[in-house]
Symmetry: C2
DNA sequence: ATGTAGTCGCTACAGGGGTAACTACTAAAT
DNA sequence: ATTTAGTAGTTACCCCTGTAGCGACTACAT
């Protein structure tokens, strides 16, 4: 990946990133030389360097002709970390009073972006008192393993329907007869979480910043979504007990059974069912 | 301090900060209501909210009229921390190859800003093999205590001339007969650090981002600057051994002695001596 | 009519990115 | 000794985007 992009994430401008990288390649250099090797126009190099010097990211030597040298990368990153830490602490202090809010229980809240969704999932798991039902892919399970373990240790019943092999040392895992096909059908991996039968989070989490999910306590949504998971548990139990019989009727795996209904790429969409469609 | 400013540090724009704070005060709210209570113009509130929703900083509910609700502050900060952490890790990986640099030993490097100076000081201390001489104020000593302790534990001789009471459980501390007067004379608290008699960092550190310092291995500068500290040690020893005699000659404290020379606010400036004057 | 909800269009300004041209110094090349 | 070319530094513009701020306009419900 592009080093310049990464530096931009740390609040460098493109010119600043180019100048700094040029200095890492070779130093010390004059402004003119930096301009040549970095591609930053000579006309801009001095203000760019002045900015970097002011923020302590490069050092300057006042010879007859000024020379510049980069602060070593490790030191640079430590400085930035330190500053970020202070910003976070100040923000925490400033916002700690606004502790919490009365969310209307009748609303459905949309959550955008994988980070935000996983964050919400973790918080909801932490709030669990009695039972957690969760349907989740192996790829995403690791990220919330710790939160689930804490819940389980606090006496919360943890039931996991897993797509792909998940091995937790707590709770009960019910592997789902999944196939790649199912993932493609719904456009990605999803998470369905139901906590204490009164709060659910559901949505697709494999699309990075385009992932979308819903979070609600609305009873008439919590009920059916919880049931989705419960049904998957039933089916699992049925398969365990009577696989031969069922396969004789419906074929070698459950995907074929699904096709007997109107499910499928053009059928009744899971996303639509959850109210997740990107409006109209 | 202003909460909006703090949020701006976390990459909120002013409008975004105002909208988010309004939602913390009361939620859920419609876009219109947020506009009223936040002061963000109605004409801008929807794009501002769209940005916040996209980054997962507020949640949205698609009722007949859209409602917005903030992600709780703690969760917000955790998300941002997570992202920052990832940015730092990527930057570390991207820059780890450029680890070293060939600095011309004849140059004097200017360092701007307290953070950058303290960072440089710490690195130089870490590089010490034999002896560290440092002149430092009580207020600044704490920040580098850990680095100095590590050096002392590795067998490096640590000699500290302290302004104000410093109590380290390692090295040797020589309290300086300092007065407020001296600080004012030179415009702030300074640090003078000399490592292994071949590298020095010296400058003023009490002016925040306006603090400036020099770092050099230039032998003809390292020598006299190291001597500055050594002389302070000599004077300390002289005072310990013969305080009565000396005070009989020069008055009750050393500040009076200083005045017998051309030192003082209008005299020969320490900053100038170190080449720290902000050019001409 | 009034309050609520949302949209469109415009101005102004700052910062970042990009080009051209102008001065001045220095060091070979003629 | 003068020209030429490269090095070094500076000034003046240009465009574009994002943010901030203002006003007006639609729509709908009570």
């Amino acid at each position: 990946m592009d080093t310049i992009k990464i530096l931009k994430e740390l609040n460098f401008t493109e010119y600043e990133a180019k100048a700094y990288l040029a200095l890492l390649e070779k130093s010390p250099l004059s402004g003119y030389a930096i301009s040549l090797s970095s591609g930053v126009p000579r006309s801009k190099i001095y203000e760019v360097l002045a900015g970097l010097v002011e923020r302590g990211e490069v050092m300057m030597s006042h010879e007859n002709t000024a020379l510049y040298s980069p602060v070593p990368p490790k030191e640079l990153i430590n400085m930035k970390k330190q500053r970020a830490k202070i910003s976070f602490e100040m923000a925490e202090k400033a916002l700690e009073n606004y502790s919490y809010l009365s969310l209307n229980r009748e609303n459905i809240w949309n959550i955008s972006g994988r980070d935000a969704i996983m964050s919400r999932v973790k918080e909801v798991i932490k709030s669990a008192k009695e039972r957690i039902l969760i349907e989740i892919w192996r790829e995403d399970a690791e990220e919330i393993e710790e939160e689930l373990r804490q819940a389980a240790n606090s006496g919360v019943e943890v039931l996991v329907v897993s797509y792909g092999e998940i091995t937790f040392d707590f709770g009960q895992i019910y592997p789902h007869d999944a196939s790649e096909e199912i993932t493609e059908e719904y456009g990605g991996r999803w998470i369905i979480l139901s906590v204490d039968d009164h709060e659910v989070v559901a949505g697709i989490v494999s699309l990075g910043d385009d992932s979308r999910a819903a979070w609600t306590m609305h009873p008439s949504l919590v009920m059916p979504i919880t049931e989705v998971i419960v049904h998957d548990l039933y089916i699992h139990e049925m398969l365990v007990a009577h696989r031969e019989t069922l396969e004789a009727s419906f074929g070698p795996n459950l995907v074929d059974l699904r096709k007997r209904f109107n499910f499928g790429p053009s059928g009744y969409s899971f996303a639509a069912k959850l109210g997740l469609v990107n409006k109209g």
